[in-house]
């Protein structure tokens, strides 16, 4: 009897395994790599600042402040989609720093003039060299850095209002 049921039991076992595997990965971007930087000091932002009239800060002023670092480029389609959400976030009083990734200054400036500049400060990484230290591999990506300069959170892909409410704001609250 047990011998007869063995194949069925094996099948059920495999089916459960498959189900759990699919459930664990559904609704999640499986191409997103978790950041090894979480809980570690953020790499230095020793990069040129994109001159914009809205610029309120220098990279040195970020010490002691919690902020959101948003990686974007004028070439990046998802960044355009994400833009209204970033504007809302910055409008709600959150300090948002733009990390302009692999983008010539003229293109970046034109993009911000056209769609509006939500960033208190935009730093420029033209060749993507400094991005390697951040583990950046595309745009958009978003980091939350706390007042002690520790990376608290990273999101890969465009931000949504849901992600901001569920992850970004709580991470910022814990970061003050």
């Amino acid at each position: 009897m047990i011998q007869r049921l063995l194949p069925l039991a094996l099948f059920v076992g495999l089916a459960v395994l498959l189900f759990v595997g699919v459930r664990m990965n559904s609704g999640k971007d499986t191409s997103a790599i978790p950041s090894p930087l979480i809980g570690k000091p953020a790499p230095a932002l020793a990069l040129p600042v994109l001159p914009m009239p809205e610029t309120r800060l220098a990279p040195a002023d970020l010490g002691g402040k919690a902020y959101v670092l948003n990686v974007w480029g004028s070439w990046c389609v998802s960044c355009r989609i994400e833009h209204p959400v970033i504007t809302e976030l910055s409008g709600s009083g959150v300090l948002v720093v733009g990390y302009n990734y692999k983008d010539p200054a003229e293109d970046a400036t034109a993009w911000l003039q056209k769609f509006g500049n939500p960033y208190a400060l935009v730093i420029q990484d033209l060749d993507g060299q400094a991005a390697l230290d951040w583990g950046i591999y595309g745009a958009p990506e978003t980091f939350v850095i706390d007042a002690q300069g520790i990376v608290r959170y990273k999101h890969i892909g465009p931000l949504t209002r849901e992600i901001i409410a569920a992850d970004i704001l709580p991470a910022l609250k814990g970061a003050q």
């Binding site: 191409s31 790599i33 090894p36 991005a131 390697l132 230290d133 951040w134 591999y137 595309g138």
Partner: protein, 143 residues
């Protein structure tokens, strides 16, 4: 017909060109070239996870190839270069995950399954041959 064949031949030619569209590298020596190619083939592209950074055309793969070459020329060992990338992009970048944490299951899993399957098959065969013998005995009795 001839024209079509020519068109197909040209298209095939273009395909080979595309696969070799990665930027040319000026190697200092054949040994460096060999080491670079072997090392980048072992590193997984973070953007397009089914390719190594040696194969990928993604911008980040291009950057990582340049970084690997730079680190090699700084005199870093393969292990140091891998550690550098793991610190930034996690063990995702390694096609051969190191044996620690839950990773031992990845390495040992197939062998454990093979062993378990082997035992099971052996048991089935032993049972079956036992059953066949008794069956023969039974038919003997009927005769």
């Amino acid at each position: 017909m001839k024209r079509r064949l020519l068109a197909i031949a040209l298209m095939l030619l273009m395909c080979t060109q595309v696969t070799h569209a990665l930027e040319p590298v000026d190697y200092n020596s054949p040994a460096e070239e060999q080491r670079f190619k072997a090392l980048t083939a072992e590193l997984r592209c973070v953007m397009c996870q089914n390719q190594s950074i040696a194969d990928s055309n993604a911008p980040i793969a291009h950057d990582l190839r340049a970084e690997v070459l730079r680190l090699m020329r700084e005199g870093k060992s393969n292990d140091e270069i891998k550690r550098y990338l793991v610190e930034r992009y996690t063990e995702f970048v390694l096609y051969e995950p190191p044996m620690h944490g839950g990773n031992w299951l990845l390495w040992a899993g197939p062998f454990l399954l093979l062993l378990g399957g082997g035992f099971w098959v052996a048991r089935v065969i032993r049972n079956k041959s036992g059953a066949a013998k008794t069956a023969v005995v039974e038919t003997d009795q009927e005769w």
